[in-house]
Symmetry: C2
Subunit: 214 residues, 2 copies
């Protein structure tokens, strides 16, 4: 298909498509004449992926580039693989010093030898919360860690069961894209869970209060 058709198929304006081509996020089309390139279904798929990462997961262009490059050049072994996916989704390390209290809480979760990049991002998030006047205690960190371990276990079970994971590129796409695009799902579920739990507790309390009045 031509550029105009690619734009029509994906709803992405041509100036934006050209920008992604220049930035190397979208592979070049096949030049069929000096002035016309042909694009295929892989371009449609890539454009949808880029838009979902930019609009949905709110990734920067650098974040999208890291994920696209990781998918195009997956590491050969499953061992390096998670490191590459982590780097693609985590971005550059923030300049922080990991607090002993953080490490202590992680050790109590049985987590040792943590990946320094992921650890730096955790500490940066904790520092931000503290600056907002909301100190995250070691106990809270452990409670959250246990819940997110359940999420990670489900993620890995589903990863191993997915037939697309047979290829390194498919597996990396599953981990990197799957993680980034489901982060907002977790956040949205937390809101719903808070509301359901508070409804359960406070509505029950109101009924008990009302009963007491009569």
């Amino acid at each position: 298909m031509r550029l105009a058709e690619l734009c029509a198929a994906t709803g992405v304006p041509s100036a934006t498509v050209k920008y992604y081509l220049r930035e190397g996020l979208l592979p070049a089309g096949e030049w069929v004449s000096a002035r016309r390139a042909e694009y295929g279904p892989e371009h449609v798929e890539r454009l949808r992926l880029i838009r979902a990462l930019v609009d949905g997961a709110q990734l920067s262009i650098d974040g999208v580039r890291r994920i696209v490059e990781a998918i195009e050049h997956p590491p050969p072994s499953q061992h390096d693989f998670f490191g590459v996916a982590q780097q693609a989704i985590n971005g550059p390390p923030p300049q922080v010093e990991v607090a002993e209290e953080t490490l202590a809480a992680l050790r109590r979760l049985g987590w040792s030898g943590c990946e320094p990049l992921a650890l730096a991002h955790l500490q940066a998030a904790l520092d931000t919360a503290a600056r907002a006047g909301f100190a995250v205690t070691g106990e809270r960190l452990m409670a959250y860690g246990q819940a997110l371990r359940d999420v990670a276990r489900y993620d890995l079970d589903a990863l191993m069961a997915d037939p697309a994971v047979q290829t390194p590129s498919g597996a990396l796409r599953h981990v990197a894209v799957g993680t980034v695009v489901t982060d907002p799902v977790l956040v949205a579920l937390r809101r719903l869970a808070q509301e359901q739990e508070s409804e359960r507790r406070f509505a029950a309390a109101s009924v008990a209060d009302a009963g007491r009045d009569t």
Copy 2:
């Protein structure tokens, strides 16, 4: 303290402080002369909160405004309270139609009568994931929901135990700010948990493979 001292105490440039004053995010100082306003510790605290919400939790100015307004005008009853906190942290509803499959998964979690705003945000996140080629199954949604229910239960237990929650403003601050600034903590913990779990599984598999070779 003067404006210059407020800037020095918080590290926020004076042009930015003036912008927050104009936008009403920061209450005006007390005018002690025609050209000089005095600021107090409440301004330092508010500025730290704004910066943490903007830089750390990546909130828009509108998002910050919703939280600040909710803290300044908390609802009188605990019942309205979570609705106000939800609106402050969720933002305007996305234009989506909630899928029957989503509602079915939530019902299987025992969640009914879900807050429409939080539900719309969940569906928007699911739609984004699907556009990125990553369809979230009902089974995955349930697994995530169970984990986030554990998080919400911890959050509510901690809320009830916090002495700052005695005032409506303190409680709203705890819920709205506490939720927004700990979202990135959950996301960072998920990365660490993935890496710990994959290490546990694949490292164990490598050792077993090595054993088989000898």
